[in-house]
């Protein structure tokens, strides 16, 4: 019995990811999660400089900030079809609230575009400026996650 439970538990994550790939909106979900990761990778470049893990490099900071702003200005509406929430699809953390009447997703997206634009101006200007713009970006990501993404 115990062995069976352990064996079944071991299979669970596998079963989960298989479902994620086969779910009804699999490619949309993968694509939007990929865009989130694209943000994270570029903020990683900026954050490494902010934390002092990497030397400040104005050119590299500009590339990362431009990429972040570019990503944030993409039209991704087609990646969020109605019904692709976590209650319907095991591979996503998107909350049904995202599709509720009056959900201010556009406002959150704009908050990120504004913060990314501020970072675009700050990143090549100097390390202190870059550091100063990090919090605005972090706040923009967190504001949307708080309302529309399930806690892990």
């Amino acid at each position: 019995m115990k062995a069976l439970v352990i064996a079944t538990l071991g299979l669970l994550p596998l079963a989960g990811s298989a479902l994620a790939e086969e779910g009804p909106f699999a490619s949309q979900v993968e694509a939007r999660q990929g865009i989130m990761r694209y943000y994270a990778v570029n903020i990683g470049t900026l954050g490494a400089m902010a934390k002092g893990e990497a030397p400040y490099d104005a050119a590299a900071a500009k590339v990362a900030a431009d990429a972040l702003a570019g990503g944030a200005s993409l039209d991704t509406s087609m990646l969020w079809p109605k019904g692709s929430d976590k209650d319907a699809h095991p591979g996503t953390a998107a909350l049904p609230a995202l599709w509720a009447d009056g959900a201010d997703v556009g406002g959150k997206a704009k908050q990120l575009r504004d913060a990314a634009a501020a970072m675009q101006a700050a990143a090549p200007a100097g390390l202190d400026q870059l550091r100063g713009a990090m919090k605005g970006v972090g706040d923009a990501c967190a504001a949307c996650h708080k309302d529309f993404r399930a806690e892990s």
Partner: protein, 303 residues
Amino acid sequence: MRKSGIALLGLIALTAAAAWVLTAPAAPVPEARIAALTPDARHGEQVFLAGGCASCHLAPGATVEGPPILSGGQAFPSDFGTFIAPNISNDPVAGIGVWSARELANAMLHGVSPEGRHYYPAFPYASYARTSLRDVVDLRAYLATLPASSQPSGAHQLGFPFTLRRGIGIWKLLYLNPDWVVDGPLTPEETRGRYLVEGLGHCGECHTPRTPLGGMERSHWLGGAPSPDGKGRTPNLTPGQLKWSAPEIVEYLTTGFTPDYDTAGGHMAAVVANFAELPDADRAAVAAYLKKVPAVAPAPAVP
């Protein structure tokens, strides 16, 4: 849950007679020590942010634009029932507008109300007990600058025997221990971090597992704990389990970004929003202290 209820009942019955004497609330902060301090409301705002008072005392769902309105009303479910955070706004009737600094000190440091009743430890005074009197006096002055709300406080929804506040006296004998958890030689920076983490920041209230009676397990300090709402666990913050560097911890408390540039979620997002407003040195102090906490082995996986 039922087990701990029976345990508490038994404990109450067994010790009833002795306890009646021992559990009488005392209001021990001497007025003279308060009078010696000059209130600084600006610094009181930092005390307020580090203490995270707004996270619990704002109205449900309220977001802060401008000065916070601490009208209360949020519900906190626990094994013992549901607690409703009271109005602590500046209203003289519905809030705490008429409270003296000494009364706030007795509430935060000893869990005792102006009428001499015990507060439930859902108000995290088991941590706030480590706050300095100077910080309480400054906080009092800051709270007096905030708006008043006439919204009456809601009643807690608790089952017997938890409705008996006198029983909290036993809990306090067991668990209200303002001694530092991490003892030993610390640098001034680590000492400041300890003050923020063990005291005002009340990090242990979420990150430390509890005994069946709801006290923090000092032997598993910051070792991670099941969330009170039953969904998931808070992470273990002790060395070896939290593998983040000090700069990574500082970055998290400043911008909310984890080392892989995801964002802080859940209740931690509010903690980050508050700590982001504190001076750089305070966030660095928290990171320095977390490196000094004794390691706690990860909790065994629940089969």
